[in-house]
Symmetry: D2
Subunit: 338 residues, 4 copies
């Protein structure tokens, strides 16, 4: 951390800042600039973070130099991590696809979706049994009944199951059905939930919060890993901006940024990221080309009848065409470019 | 809802949309525009919201005309609500202030803070015993120990206690100590938690999510009220924007907007809203003048030693001066202008 | 500026950075942190700003410590500036109001508006003769004809005229009619235009860009002042955020921030800032309480017939009521609180 | 446009709205909903846009159904446009690259850059002779001297020249040197400048404004095309969001959105879009895969000595590697996938 003093800070004020820092067991490095004094702080990150330095008189601002996450950082582990979900590896250079409906709506809908997802070559079936919805009057999910259909679809197809868990109380139950636990955007900073899924040891798919910075997102992952669970995959799903044409703004630069800052695998969800089915194909191709380890794609046997997020779901035909293209692209990139 | 068809949508596509709407038990109203057909949908809000119309062929977009919250709306209840917190009324035209430290750090710190808060004339003591923090390594709160100090401070001063609850499992415990339950910004869409505090019947202070629209915020309130608990007070605490000088951008226009759309009382938190203590005074004055029913202000006996959010906390002197000014302003507005 | 090196930067890379800085005539201060090296740079701000340090190998990031504007800063001139517009002073503690229609639409409309504005007690008449419009098909203003009506309205009422200039070629013409030149939000970084109005020496009202940071805004003001024209007044008019209920998000914390960072007067435009006439009153009151030196208010004799921005214009009755309230509030604040 | 009345609007208020619309030569379509009346307006887009309906009593809001741009829309011209820049075609399915330094700094720098750009296989040389800079103290460009170096580099390499014009007064001069005129992000809504470049008939590269919606961007293009100049290419260069790791958030979904809404070609600038050279490669690959017609890439012979935007410039080695990869990718996509 670097403390920037006011140009008119007194010597006494500067001294008090230094004493305050030293009292916290940290070292200082004072630099007299042209117009103001700057004080560098050296020492333990956690102790530095705990300092309310801006509350001291004469301080203009405090600038954080390095982030406080550690276990998820590339500095800590320079090689990319591979997350193994019951034999399916995420992050080893092969493209992974998680397909399926936004919500599990019925046994028939899910079984039909699973067959399509499987036929296209995806490795995972997605589908929400617990749906966080803006309105209390919208469909909230089939809960355990939905989980049982997911398990049945797995038995029928061999697909791995990734599904969202939305509360601590349901973690054990969801973990007993799912191969991978999804933390949704709204719960990215539900720290109790992060710790709870961390303690399960199960692979976790951590979606980016709607207005989370990359730094906050990696801190959220740190909560999980800090419980001893390194099986974390990050999922970019669009951020909230002023643009209204798309539901969210899919931030593909996050893929490269995360690869630079962290060792965790990264996948992309262009369905939620754009909210429009006709943008799913171009953004899927773009995500793969940007270096994503996988895709999460909404597929519905009949989008027009979906109980949730129909406008962004692919129908079976579009899904099959997309899978063909992204797989060929991934193969090309693996063999000929990288 | 209004469905906007593509300019080149076929008659067959238009027909299919209409059939789909009718099958959902809704009525349609077709308007042939200059270049495209528009279909108005009439009927039950919930049924309309559940339609995935944009997934149908030939549909350009679906435009939502009216929101789906009901119980919290001004249409539903045209007169302002007054929330009674054990005798203290919020929303009756008098200014309410909730003061105190961001976090309960120790018995001494809290008791000292409570005396200051009381001396300034506030009605509530605030202070977090459970602190959601971006980093797992930051101070996370004293938990039940903190709650007991809050109760002790209440006994000593007569101040009402408002404190945050961050998980369903702790609702009962926190409710046994607090007079009012606070839902923090990160949990505004933690729907399980909203329902849980709704079921307690206790007054709830619902903070706006970091990137929540006013519409989403009112839907979150609807989750609480839908459980039968009408004792909800909304708290504007700044939204996330591109501006970096302030921690958040305090959206004071939300006060007037909420008064227009809803009957619930509204208070403002300029401490989190700006992140800088020197902006707390001007934004407190502004909030009162904008028509807020109350303020939530961070006060710390010694901000430079705070374990959390020191830079935005007022010291005792600044707090006393602020209280004098906002109270005089509130009185002036009540007697001479409104 | 502080340069943060990668944790694994080599000694050679660090050396090269230092040499590069020294070659630019600047001094360095090297701090060896726990996990990485940090290099402080000391010297002339302009020389520091010109360094493309992040392009050097081993550099993680460069953190700017202090801004490069100077003439508009409070460090440079610690006392508030008062801008004199032909005898009317902005920034001397009295509330200034600029009222009038968004656009000059006709002689009759403007003369009627001017009489209303005058009757309410405002000092300035506003009204656009040149209107920057999103669509090429929207009303673009009466141009010089509009300016002549403004001059006529001034003659009739004694109000000062503030009106927008949108291109360098029109600066001389507009300056020959207006008492104060307005730079609109879209032109806040039209640097040619800033220099041109700077050269006139006329008072300038500089509106904040739609997504301008406070830092960029002050730099834009610096462009004007750097031409020798210190008669600059800043106008907060709302920033673009994700919120859709209001046209923009009026950032009232900018008032206090600007007062802290700069000596220039600040006014607020709640009409553009909210886009809804029913929010103009609460946000006007809030702006005054936040310490603004003035208000810019849209008033139209008949908002429902306005050619531009009718929904945010006050009708004569609402305007008169507002003026009564804001003037009483300003008086109260001046005499009893500050 | 659809007018949504308040639930408690009176019959008289509804009648007045209808009369107001009819007086503007438009037709209405009244729909009685469950709780409120909705009035559809049919007729000429321009007349509809000019209505200040929200200013009428009893109106809750007015919802715009279709945008007012026309000439640039896909509805107007269903086939993609190809822009011919002196023989080089943009939008015909081949990848176009515009490479070069952010600013023309010297004859040597530019000639060296041009040789590198040419060697990599790009078709255009970019480089700013007029630089809009946030600070008045930053390097502002070599102006006409810079233009002459660009012309010299064209003579030496055969590359086409694209360079920014920042004011109406310089349009003729820049057009006499350049093959394509660039409108920068800050000038996207400088309507005088848009009309001026429109009148030249020269190909125009229109960058997206920093916080421009796609709708506003297409309206800006409409200003140019409305002058009779259809040679417009759109350039996505990142939008302003809350995320701080990247300089901007590159919105690649804009590529697909623009292809859906408009017939104009679209290119992407990942250098400004990310602000970090190490993100240029992944985002270039992603842009190509998303369907962009071209890329604009910053290349500098020696980024560490650049006077502007060094951190986001590729050095020659990285540029050559990138060109190899994007060209192979474009070829693959053209031949095997699309």
């Amino acid at each position: 951390m670097v403390i920037v003093m006011n140009p008119n800070a007194t010597g006494d004020q500067i001294k008090k800042v230094i004493v305050r820092v030293h009292n916290a067991g940290l070292r200082t490095h004072v630099v007299e600039g042209e117009s103001r004094t700057i004080i560098g702080i050296i020492g333990d990150k956690k102790a530095i973070m705990a300092l309310p330095i801006e509350a001291l008189e004469g301080v203009e601002k405090a600038v954080t130099i390095s982030s406080s996450y550690k276990l998820v950082s590339r500095d800590f582990k320079p090689t990319p991590s591979v997350v193994d979900v019951d034999g399916v590896k995420i992050g080893n250079g092969s493209l992974i696809v998680m397909g399926g409906p936004c919500a599990v709506e019925s046994r028939d809908q899910l079984m039909e979706a699973a067959q399509i997802v499987k036929a296209g070559g995806a490795q995972f079936l997605r589908g929400g049994a617990y749906k966080p919805r803006t309105s209390p009057y919208a469909f909230q999910g089939l809960e355990e009944e939905g989980l049982s259909y997911l398990a049945e679809a797995r038995a029928a197809t061999g697909l791995k199951i990734v599904t969202e868990v939305t509360e601590v109380a349901a973690v054990e139950l969801v973990a007993s059905y799912a191969d991978m636990l999804q933390i949704g955007a709204r719960n990215m900073q539900n720290f109790h939930l992060l710790k709870a899924v961390g303690r399960t040891g199960k692979p976790v798919l951590l979606k980016r919060g709607l207005s989370a910075t990359i730094d906050e997102w990696l801190h959220a992952a740190e909560y999980i890993v800090n419980e001893g669970n390194y099986n974390v995959v990050l999922c970019e799903r669009g951020i909230r901006t002023y643009e209204e044409y798309t539901r969210n703004t899919l931030d593909l630069s996050a893929v490269g940024a995360l690869k630079h800052l962290s060792h965790l695998p990264v996948i992309v969800d262009p369905s939620h990221g754009t909210g429009k089915w006709h943008l799913v194909r171009p953004m899927s191709m773009a995500a793969v080309a940007a270096g994503a380890d996988g895709l999460m794609i909404e597929v519905h046997p009949n989008p027009a009848e979906a109980l949730s997020d129909g406008p962004q779901s692919l129908n079976p035909g579009n899904y099959m065409a997309l899978m063909h293209d992204v797989q060929r692209l991934a193969e090309f990139l693996k063999n000929e470019v990288r």
